[in-house]
Structures are given as C-alpha cells and as structure tokens.
Point group: C2
Chain length 478, copies 2
C-alpha cells in the first residue's frame, strides 16, 4: 500500500520574545518553578503587525519556496487555528491572498485558483484534524498534494496563571504520497467529551446597564429612559446600534488549568485505548518517540507518568520500580506518582523518547494548534544536530484540543528525512530572535503599541479597512 | 467501485417565522419585488432560546432517532457553520453534549465517546466541505458512518437590504457506503479567491476615545488622563480590563450584495470549468436537476442565465433563442440576458431542473451552510409529493461560500430514496409553524426579548454560565 504522510515542514515564529527569567522577576514568581518545573525559557510574542493570518502566510510561503513547489499543483490548503480573525471568512483565505500576491511574478495571477482552502476549528487539535482529513483526501486519489497549516497565538491575561504559557507562530506541512519525512499510519485513536476546560466565549454586557454604570462613574445618575435617549444620540454606533447587549470578543480564554490537565490526561488515555482496540500496541517497545501537544514544554512528561507505569506493567517490568520506590498505597496515589517521576528509570524514558520534542517549546511557548507539529520539528532538528540515526523509528503522537478531544496516531520516520530537515535551522533561528522588555511586551499585549517593534521582511498586516462596505477587511503584504 | 453518499437526511427549522408580506408592508417595500422577484414568502426566525448549536442538536437527534441509528457506530459528526458561538470550542461539541445527554437512557453514558467531532468554517460552504472530507474518510475504510450537520442563522441589520434574506435552521446528513438517497461522484470542481464580499469581522473601538465620547454625550468633557483614571475605577471590567480597544462581535455581516452575486457567479463558473477539466460534462443533457446555495429562493435561476446560454451553445440549440429574441449586442449584454430569462424556453428549464429545489427556501429564507442541503430536501419532498420517478436522475450541485469558494459536484438519486423521504413531511411542517408580528421579530432581533416566544419540546439553550471559571459556557437541554 502506498505510504502517505509529511514530505516537508516549514515554520514561522515571531522575531521577538520575552525571557521567562524577566517575566518571573517582574511577577515575583520563582524562576526555577517555571524553568525547571515547566521547562520554560523564552516565549514568542506577536509583533503589532502580526496575527494568525500573517503567521500562516509566512509558514505557507516558506514551505512553497524552500521546496520549490509549483502552487498550481496544490489541491488544498487547510488551516487549523483557534485564533481566527473573522466569524465567516476563513483566516486561511487571508493567508492565501498574501501568498498568491507574492507568487504572482513567478506563477502569474491566481496561481491557487483551483485550490481548496478551509479553516478547521477545535481548540489546539484543529490542525491535526486538518492533517487527518487531508491524508484521506490524498489516499482517495493519485498524485495529490495538500498543505496543512497550524497557526495560533496563545494570549492570557497579564498577571494570570496562564501568562507564562503564552507563545505564537505557525507550522506548515506538505502532505503527499511516498513522503520524505514521516509516513502516517491508518490507525487513529479518537476520544471526545464536551467540557468547558478552556474556551473563548463572547463576553455579554447589557448595554443599558453598562451605559447607566458609565454615567454613574462620571457622577451622573440616569433613569433607564434618560439613558436610552442619550444612547440613541451617539453618532459612533457604539451605543446606538439598537442591540440590547454588547458581545465582546477577547483573545484571552476562560479556562481552568488543573481541570484542563485532567481532561487532557483522560482524553489521551481514552484515545490510546481506542487506538489499541484497532491495532495491537506496546507503547514502550513499538514507539521510539512520543510527541505531545505542549501547552508548556514539560506538559507531556508530567502528564504521562501514570500511563508509563501501566506500560511497564504491560511489559512485566514494574517490579524494578517497586523495588526502587515501593508500591503505591492506591491506584490514585499521587505522591507515589511524584516519586515515580523522579526515578532514574523515568528520567531515562524522558531522555530517550520525549525530551528532544520539548526543546523548541521551551524557546517558543504555547503555539496551540502548531505545538505538536513544532514538537516534531524539534525532534527532527535535534536528531539532525546530534547526527542520530532515527530512520525507520516510530513516533506516537498525542494530540489534544480543549473542549475536548484527543487523537492518538502513529508515524514512521522515512529515510529521506535528513535531506528535508538539513536547512530547517530551527534552533539557530530561535537563538537569533530579539528579546523585548516586559514594558514593551505589556504594551503589545494591551494593544497600546500600535506600530511594529521590529521591521521585517515577511508577510505582515498592513491595515484594516475603515470604509463601510469593507469595514474590518484586513490587508497583508510582504 | 462502492458507492458513497447520503443515506438519510433530517432537518430542524425554528417554529416561528415572519411573513414577508408583513415585513414588506412595514418597510414600505413593494411585496411583488420580494415575492415574485426573489421568491420570498416566509422567513424562519430563531426564538430567544435557540442558536446554531440548538438547531444542530435537534437536526442531529432527529437523524439518529428517525433512522434508529446506534450512536456508538458513528465515527464522526462534523459541523459546517458560520454562526459559531466560541472562538476555540467547536459549536458541534455543544450540540453533541445535548444529544449525548438525551440518548443516555437508551445507550448509556458517553455514547459518542469515540466519535470525531469538529467544526469547519468557510461562510456558506463549510458544510459542503465537511461532506466532501467525510466522503473521503468513508472511502478510506470499510463500513464507516459519518454525520454532517449544516447549521446557521442569517441575521442582517433591521431595515438593511439584507433584512428580507434572513432565515435559520439546520440540516443533518447521514453518510455511508451504498447510500439510499444520493450517491456523490468523485469529481469535484473547486475555485477560490480571497475577497471581501461578505464577512464577519470584529468591530474595533478605541476604548479611551469611546469613554471620552460617552462622557461628552453626558455633557462632561474629559482629558485623556481623567478618562483613564475613571475607567480604572470601573468594577464591571467593561472599561477596566486594561486593553486599549474593544473588539465587538456582531452576528450581522459586512457585505456588498451585488459584488457578492458577482463573486458567486464567477466562482461557480470557474468551479464548473474545473469540474469539466476532470470529467466530460454536458450540463443540460447530463444533469436532470440543478441545486444551488440559495441566499434567497431565486438566486440560482437569476444567476445562471449566462451559463445556460453557453450550455445551449454546447448543444447547438442557441439558434431557437436567437430567432426568438435576437442576438446580444455584446458578450456582456445584460438587457439581452434579462430578455433571455423571460423566454418560455428558460422558464421551462427552471421548471424542469431548478424550481422544486427552491420551494423550501421560499418558506424558510437563507440558511447559509444548510441552504444547499435544504434545496436537496426540497427537491426530494416535492418529487415525493408529485409521485415523480427521479431514481437514477443526476443532480448538479452548485455550492458557494463568500470570501470566496465554490465547489461543483454531482450526485445520483438512488433507488431507495422514497423510503427515506416518505416521513420527511417538510412542507407539512413548514405550514404548521407560527407567524410572529414584526414587533415580536424586532424584539428577538435586538435581543430585548429574553424569553422564548414558543414553548418547545426540543433541545434549547437553557442558560449561560456566569461564574468565573466557566463564564460564558452554554447549557442546552431537551
């Protein structure tokens, strides 16, 4: 049967970052807790002229140029994102518009005219869904080529417990038959449950109440009739659009961190079970590498301890661990699990199967949909630098999207992976970025920094239209 | 080769509607223009306890119950919508949550635990994309079953030119091998171009300016410093969240109607060309029925005139038309095309191939993603009522999503279609709905009507959470 999978990978990470040591100092958090505990080192910050569409455009353009792809041979460009910029128009179309324009000289007008463009949304797992669907599409024909982009920015409120797990950027994948880097097997473990561990609802405010409260702030007490009359006089349409409520969009999610970890762990275990129901699997023997969706660098290694214990049992090798730290008092003995995570044996497991996938996350932060694909790039770049022979190795992928769903799937590293990774230079690029101060970061965060901090030679947001028929349309260009 | 396609169809349309004659009278629009010109009769209105998730839940539950499906055999539930309720959590998960709860007695807890749930977004074409992808997924395995839901509400500003093209509801499709109703062929014509014909951007307002303007409305002139100080004192977080701007979500799109028609027409023609490049096609001979995405009932018949002329030419039967109304002065002779549309020959073409697909749209209005599938239901219900023999007939589907993309594809009506449609009772249901007054409609529209107008025995929005960790989470139940 023809192999199908990832033939090339590109990425775009913003050129500015905040040092986690600076943030820790400023927020009076012990740095070791963030660095040694969670694996955080630097977090990528979107500049004032960047967003999920510009990230996606750059990752797409880079993929096309680095691999000398003729855009007219691409059948689809699918984007997974939870940072979409519009309720109806896909963010992918903005990215494609900028890339098509950039390619006009070489390929003529509308070189992506017959390409199927689409957004998929399921929190951090949307790009895995885009890949899953695109692999089936490639399988259903002959010689098909698809691009999947994962693009996001993770923004949390200043001073909140999510603040140090921010990040941003995009990863793009070329999918086709007989791939050079990773072939993906047909077995997919899936588990879902509708929960509210992390979501981005609209914030509703009653307009009349808000107006009366505002008047009260200004020292004026209004009756509802008086407020209504004044609101109607507003010429800006802010108060006078006739709607009873405001629905305010915020990039910052509503979330419950510990609960979300629990959902992640439960869904992963259920999806793994679903995978095993379809195909026999001995994780420790069959999978050389485990790659995770990483909200923070050490999420995978911290979450997977109990599963690892069960995998030892699968292999009749739990006795060594019991000899070392004793047996747990109960199935849910969290102190015992903490001890497990400190054993040499578990640390060796991390070093062998997990750690290389974490390195980029430590330097970028949470990329939401892109983080599991960045973990793959991290593994490949690390192995390339170490000159490791990983051809033929199997990867277990553990993806998760809040809300919630997991997919567990399997890849095999193909023999030409080095040729496609040798110019990736991920860590070199990450080390060349510019650190910004906490003050500059806060101004970007709250939107008071309106112009870009760094002048850049990439696709960026130029302007947002203000005339009525196109109000809100976004313009991007190199 | 195994046939793949639509095995069952269900729908949910709100139980209240506005008579277009009432709206025309109230807005002083000539009724004939809307009724005879655009084919409008009634438009479905979401009640205060309804939204895209509740519509989807009802269409999904109905599909499962009417067809006695065991939910544990469903591999995926994909939703196409441009009325999503959250920026990260898919609207489909809310629908699945309500349906899983409703099925617990019969199938136990979490009967959709291993089901792949996802939202796809591309304006009105997102559900066609969901179907396209799901057909490939079915093809990639054996015995797979997928459900695709299209759910939306089309809301335009009161008194705007879009107001009379509103509508709401959902259609659900069961997809599998050897389908009873319609098999879908492998050929897909695709055309896309990033444009701003219709989109739902966030509306950005500078917070400081807005506060100063509000103070001015109240007769107080503030310096920026004074305004900043007062904003920080707001305890509601409306003014004091630290962000420089408001980003306000509105269901009502930014759009340019005539331009959007033009984009629709161009994309359709390009997608049809792309289809023909893959498979020889003589539209008039090969396709017995043409089904369109219908923003209003007569969109298809009004838009396709020039294409019809070219199809006559393909069949060497243009001379009759020239004999009848003369030849056009130029390729773009719009007056001549208007004359074409009035000919008996064109009217016969409409009656034969288009009109039965329009009937439901006249009575529901614009269902966005669901409208092309409602057109299919309209054709099938009409043919069932007429006792027409349409088995084996071929359907040409013309789908469109603003922003913009078209897909043109082909279906064949299968011989068991009647068995699956006989209890559909679409027109009977539509005739049983309750008309509401323009006043009641306006209060639902502006959000001042907070409680439901009709008490209903279906899934509905019960409440929106107000506590901090779950703020904005939506609860639905039968």
């Amino acid at each position: 049967m023809t192999k199908i999978g990832i033939d090339a990978i590109s990425y775009y990470v913003p050129s500015i970052y905040v040092a986690i040591s600076d943030l820790a100092e400023c927020r009076q958090i012990e740095y070791a807790k963030l660095h040694k505990g969670l694996g955080l080192h630097r977090m990528a910050i979107p500049d004032a002229d960047e967003d999920a569409a510009s990230f996606a455009a750059n990752a797409l353009l880079k993929l096309i140029e680095e691999n000398n792809l003729d855009p007219r041979t691409l059948g689809r460009i699918y984007l997974g994102t939870e940072s979409s910029l519009d309720g109806a128009k896909p963010t992918s179309t903005y990215a494609v518009e900028a890339v098509e324009a950039a390619l006009t000289t070489k390929y003529g007008e509308r070189c992506l005219k017959n390409c199927d463009v689409l957004d998929m949304t399921f929190a951090c797992i949307g790009a895995v869904d885009a890949m899953h669907n695109s692999l089936d599409w490639i399988k259903a024909g002959k010689g098909r080529k698809a691009i999947v982009i994962a693009s996001d920015l993770a923004k949390y409120e200043l001073g909140s417990t999510g603040e140090y797990t921010q990040g941003a950027g995009a990863v793009s994948l070329l999918l086709c038959e007989n791939p050079s880097i990773v072939s993906i097997s047909d077995t997919w473990g899936v588990a879902s449950q509708s929960v509210g561990d992390f979501f981005k609802p609209r914030r509703k405010f009653d307009k009349l109440e808000t107006f009366k409260n505002t008047a009260a702030l200004l020292g004026t007490k209004l009756t509802s009739d008086e407020a209504q009359n004044l609101m109607e006089k507003d010429t800006s349409s802010f108060w006078s659009d006739g709607q009873a409520d405001f629905e305010i969009f915020k990039e910052e999610p509503v979330f419950d961190g510990p609960y979300s970890n629990e959902c992640y762990q439960d869904r992963i275990s259920e999806a793994l079970e679903h995978f095993k129901n379809q195909k026999p699997l001995n994780v420790l023997k069959d999978w050389h590498h485990l790659l995770f969706h990483l909200p923070y660098a050490y999420q995978g290694r911290r979450m997977i301890v109990a599963n690892w214990v069960s995998w030892l049992k699968d292999n009749q090798s739990i006795q060594d661990l019991y000899d070392d730290i004793g047996q747990p008092a109960s199935e849910q003995d969290s102190e015992w699990l903490r001890n497990v995570s400190k054993t040499t044996k578990y640390q060796e497991f991390i070093t062998q199967k997990i750690e290389r996938g974490e390195r980029a996350s430590s330097d970028i932060g949470n990329m939401y949909t892109a983080s599991i694909f960045m973990a793959l790039l991290s593994l490949l770049n690390s192995a390339y630098e170490d000159d490791s022979n990983i051809s033929g190795n199997k990867i277990g992928f553990f993806s998760y999207g809040s809300g919630s769903k997991s997919k567990v799937f399997e890849g095999t590293i193909e023999r030409n992976w080095k040729i496609k990774i040798k110019d990736s230079n991920l860590f070199e690029y990450l080390n060349k970025r510019k650190a910004i101060s906490i003050e500059a970061y806060e101004q970007l965060h709250n939107g008071s920094q309106k112009s870009a901090i760094v002048k850049k030679d990439v696709v960026k947001l130029l302007s947002i239209e203000n005339t009525s028929n196109l109000k809100g349309y976004r313009f991007y260009s190199l």
